[in-house]
Structure formats: C-alpha cells, structure tokens
Symmetry: C2
C-alpha cells in the first residue's frame, strides 16, 4: 500500500470545513488538499467546464498517490461526481449523498429544507438525492447567495449577517420542517447564527461532517485505513497566490495552516 | 461614415449604469453593449487573462462597426485600457480617468476617498490616476467586497445593506475627505443609501456619469457625433444565458431592455 493520503479538492477554500471534520474523525490519516483558487467560483460555469476542472483536479491528487478522492465542493459534486466515480479506480466521495443521508436520519417528519448557493440549488442535486433515498420526503430548497461573500469577508457575527440570515430563512420559519441541511461548505461558519434564527426545534445538518463519516466508512469497507498510528500530515495546494487562502484558512480549518504550496492541475 | 454605434463592454451587467448615462446624455446615439456574463468576474483573474478577454470583447464590438469602445468595467479599465488604446484605431475610453477628473473637480480640499472592489483597489489604478492629475491630492481607498453581491441580490434598501455601508465607510466618516468616488459600476445603485451614511458634506462622484461626459467630449473632438436626429437604438449582447441579465437589467438601466442576444466574443 503506497497510496497513503486522502485526497480532497474544492473550487477554493470551503472544502477546508470537510478537511477539519476528516482530521477530527481520523487524526492519523494524511491528507492532500487542492483548492482551485485560480478558477473559483465553479457555480457560474457550464457543466462541461466544471467536469473538466474536476477531472484535472482529481488527476492532480492521483499524482500524489491518494487512496481516495473527496469532492468537497457542492457544485462539483452535483455536476461531476458520477463521471469521476466511473473513470477512476479509487473511491470518489462527494458531499451531497452523505449530507442527504444525514438529514434523513436527523429528521422525524421527513420535512427537510436545504440551503446552498444558487448553482447548487439550481442543479436540484440535493432534492433528487433526498427523494432517491426517501421518496416520501418533503423537500424545500432555498438559495442564499450572500452567505458565501459574508463568510469570505469574515462577518460571521455582524448584525447585517443576522439580518440577512433572517431574510433568506424567513420562509423556513413559517414551515413545518424539522431539519435544515447546510448544502454549502461555507455555511458551517454561520452555524451559530443560523441556529439563533431558526431556533431549537430545527436540527441543523452539516454536509461536511456527514461527508467525513462517509469517508471513514468507505475506508473501513475498502480496507484502506492507515495502519500506522503517528499523527497524520496534511498538505495544502492552491492554484493561485496562497496569501488570501492562508489568511482565511483559520476560520474554515479551526487553526492556521502550516504550509501552502501553489500548483497548476 | 458607416461606423455609427458607440461600443460598450463590461464583464457583466454593471456597465449598464454607463449605458444609462450615455443614453441620458446622447439620446440619438446608437449603442452596442457586450456583457461577458460567461466569464464574470474579471477581478479574480490574472492580468494576462483580463487583457485577453478585453481584446476579444473589443474585436466583437468592432465587428459591429462601432466608432469608439467604452471599457465600462473598472477591472478591465485598470488592466487593459492602455493596451487597447495602443492597438485599436477607434477611441477607447475607460471609467477610471474620467472618474478621477470628476472627483478632482468636485473636491475643494483635494482629499478624496475611492471605493471599489478588492481587485480594482488592489490595482491602485484610481490612486495613480488621481495623483497623476493632481500630485498634491490626498487619496484613500477602501475595498467594499459585499456591495456587488448586495446589489446583484437587489437588496438596495435592506437594513443589512445600510449596516454594511456603515461598516465599510466608517473610516471615511472620521476623515476630512470632502469627495467620495464610486469606483465600481454597481455602486450607483447604492448611491442613496451611501449618501444617508456619509451625510451632506461629502460629495459623491459617479464614474459612470463622468465616463459618459468624457465620451461626449471625445466624439465631439473627433467629429464622430451622430448627425441624424432620430432616437438611437441600443442592442445588448451577453456571453451566457440572458435570463439573469434581463431580470436585473431594469435596476441598472432604469427600464427593461427590449432585446438581449447571446454571443461568443
């Protein structure tokens, strides 16, 4: 077994919330992360282009001998996952299916709302996956286009952020859903504020956490877990100047990143 | 004289604020607008790529026999204008130099603040142009990254928008500037709210309006003004699905656009 690292790619920085959960759950695993910061955002691009970028990012990770590929980007998960799973030998895991499973497990009445970027919500990927897993479920989806820029500006606790959460989630407050699925890797950084708005009767499900649990299960099933017990090493690559990525990483990852390299996939 | 239209390009929809001012000032002129909605935003791209896109957009306009090219995009003005002026025979006019001139004319104490996107502010183009025109001027610049997404979400009068304007412009309120230059084509849509925050003692200067005046002067000087007096016709092209552009156009242009075509530059 020479392939010792978990490979993760994202269109930018959001996938670090997935890496954080992977490290929490499997502290001994090595991780190679690629953030495509030169081509972010994917959400405004065509399906063909998103697929091409996802293939290039996967090949970059495979050159680093990863034992699995985590598509830690909702847009890429929505548009490219099936193709990547079809093409590559290693397991390829996205964020949508694990998020859907976790939401259905958390929900008692199977009335679930999903929030995400405009592109992810327009893809209908969450709705389709939730209904595939449970055709009886009642799904509503809401695009919240300002959440990503608010997070990227670091305004987690600003009054304006709370007002905008109220604005976007107002329809949810008047509905009978019991579970809210955070369908964007940036949204866990607004979790506390979102909880304040929706109150204690709605359970928040974090796709990043669900994805990490799915990765652990897959590695166990495929007998790919690392056997050595020394702490894992994480390496980070980005496709554009790392300075912005580095300065924001602490918010997403929970601690500063030690070393970020620039790389072209 | 077969070249009868004024050509305008922008990375997306913001340039419509310039078209609005052109139509106000020169209602008899024809206009060809190209919004590069498939490749928006330019601000996150490298200087080489911004230049390449700007050349392609200009050539698209020239195929429609425009008599001048207006670079109604601050990022493209900052990174590509000089090259376009060097390469093309027709006059090429950006938004930065006219904006700087108008701000210096409006200011009594020559203490001027400029606001814009992160990319435009990082290019230092406004600062350099203002100091080139008046080396004694005192210039401060502030990036306001959330203003574009707020405008694109149509939240012009939302309380959150007012809070975020206060957040970004707080340093201006405690300074001695007398003029605030809106260095982004989206910002005129927040003009009323910005005025509320900065108060009556600070003059707001709109780059779009200044650009239109510069175009009129250039056409007069070059004897390129349209001689026929029937109302001008405006045609709009975008590089991606026009539906989003169409639905937002009313805010930027002041009225609905009658016909939008899709085109690849």
């Amino acid at each position: 077994m020479t392939m010792e690292a978990i490979g993760v790619f994202d269109s930018g920085i959001g996938g670090l919330t997935v890496v954080k959960e992977l490290v929490n759950l499997m502290p001994h695993e090595n991780i190679i992360y690629f953030g495509d910061t030169a081509r972010v955002p994917y959400g405004t691009k065509s399906a063909d282009t998103i697929l091409r970028y996802s293939i290039e990012n996967s090949i970059f990770l495979l050159k680093h001998k990863v034992k699995c590929i985590i598509v830690a980007c909702n847009t890429a998960s929505a548009y490219a996952l099936t193709h990547l799973q079809h093409v590559f030998k290693v397991p390829v895991i996205g964020v949508i299916s694990p998020g859907a499973t976790a939401a259905l497990q958390a929900s008692h009445n199977k009335k679930i709302a999903v929030i995400g970027t405009k592109a992810t919500m327009q893809s209908n990927a969450y709705q389709q996956e939730l209904l595939r897993q449970n055709p009886e479920a009642e799904i509503s989806t809401y695009a919240c286009p300002l959440f990503v820029p608010l997070v990227e500006e670091g305004l987690f606790h600003h009054d304006a952020t709370l007002l905008l959460i109220r604005e976007y989630l107002n329809p949810i407050l008047n509905s009978s859903i019991d579970t809210l699925l955070l369908g964007c890797t940036h949204y866990p950084l607004l979790e506390d504020q979102i909880k304040k708005v929706v109150g204690p009767h709605i359970t928040l499900v974090n796709s990043a956490k669900a994805c990490a649990q799915s990765v652990l299960k897959t590695l166990e099933r495929e007998k790919l877990c690392k056997t050595a017990t020394q702490p894992g090493i994480s390496r980070f690559f980005v496709s554009d100047d790392p300075s912005k990525f580095e300065s924001m990483a602490t918010h997403f990852f929970g601690e500063a990143l030690s070393h970020i390299d620039i790389a072209t996939p």
